[in-house]
Amino acid sequence: MKVVADRLRDIALHSNLDHEIDLFGRSAFNRYYYAAYLAVRKNLMEINSDWATAAHKNLPTILTIAINKSATRIAINLTKKGILTKSEESRILTSIKICGYELSKILQSGYEARSYADYFPEEIVTRESGNLSLHNYTTHEAQSWPKRAEKHAVQLLNIWRQLG
């Protein structure tokens, strides 16, 4: 998906026509968001298959609230049975919280950019020194969403695995 986004961005960057810059540019933002979303979804599926079908808008809430709730319930139970120490429990829960928060921030930005790209044609994509801008977002930032999402999602899954 990121390859498609990069190609769309390149077409927009090299076009001399304003409407092409706008149309290819906004599609690039859309694809960058989806690349990040799919990276998160793939790893969330490993944790809870129900979350894989969640609405896009709900994913940040799942990442910051639902996942913390599930992890806390499991961790407290493991600590009660003496399998985890209190400090292990606290480290796991804090790490899950940090990763979930980072991921939710990426998805929130991506979702907002994608909404502007898809539903607000009056917001025009502009080109400036090798970068495309839409609303408050640039392709420089959008390009990093998939990689950052993948990194944090893998880290989240690895920490989740500590819960057994």
Partner: protein
């Protein structure tokens, strides 16, 4: 050893008369490569021993077009950047209260800096991450760099819960098999003695049994593990492990 992508890219660079001694590694995603270029190799114009940001940007575009590879050129430590890196290392060590943590700074062509340190993500608390970010961010801004992302790429020490799960999945099993399972799941490679002591601790809590040199899970152990839905369920993993086993 170079992977297929890095080899191909190295040869491609030579064909494009870019004959500098640079490190090339695979990126995070398939089809991504990262190239580390010492800061001293960069000049305002391309010459015998120098490249320029313009040439790198051109090579980046060409690599996508001709090889389908996405190249991330990173400017790395030497001279100026080495000084910044040692300054950042001191700040990170102070924040993490650890003198042996290795810090690596990589700077993109547009002066965005990524910071990597090799400590387990589990050992970094929210407070420490914030502290590192704030201290390093201010420091980097003074040298005209923007802090982009902080990564910690160490593997975590396995918890007792994952050791218990490994016994459930592999039983009847040995400490050696448990150690191998943990390493395959991306945890820190731990010595067999460490695994044996963890298993012994679980046995003393009546969560597993030990007989004829092998470990098996007890009912108490089974009921202690979380019941999860989806691919990460230990029940599914156990069923798959049984299917693969040669009896």
């Amino acid at each position: 050893m170079d992977s297929k992508n890095t080899q191909q890219f190295r040869q491609w660079l030579v064909r494009h008369r870019f004959a500098m001694n640079v490190s090339i590694i695979d990126g995070d995603a398939e089809g991504d490569v990262m190239v580390f270029i010492p800061a001293s190799y960069l000049g305002p114009k391309v010459s015998a021993n120098k490249t320029s940001t313009r040439q790198l940007a051109h090579l980046k575009r060409m690599a996508v077009r001709e090889l389908g590879l996405h190249v991330d050129f990173r400017i790395t430590a030497d001279e100026g950047i080495a000084e910044i890196e040692s300054g950042v290392t001191a700040l990170v060590r102070n924040a993490l209260q650890s003198s042996d943590v290795k810090v690596f700074l990589s700077v993109s062509l547009d002066r965005y800096a990524d910071l990597w340190f090799d400590v387990a993500p589990m050992s970094i608390t929210e407070k420490v991450t914030k502290e590192v970010r704030n201290t390093v961010k201010d420091y980097l801004e003074k040298v005209d760099l923007t802090l982009h992302e902080i990564y910690s790429h160490g593997a975590s020490v396995p918890s007792s819960a994952i050791v218990l799960r490994s016994v459930k999945v592999l039983q009847p099993t040995t400490a050696e098999e448990v150690a191998k399972y943990l390493a395959n799941r991306g945890f820190l490679k731990v010595p067999i003695l460490w695994v044996k002591s963890r298993l012994d601790r679980l046995r003393k809590k009546d969560l597993i049994t030990w007989s004829h040199e092998t470990y098996s899970i007890t009912y108490a152990g089974l009921s202690s593990l979380p019941i999860l839905r989806g691919r990460s369920s230990s029940d599914i993993e156990r069923a798959l492990a049984l299917g693969k086993r040669r009896w």
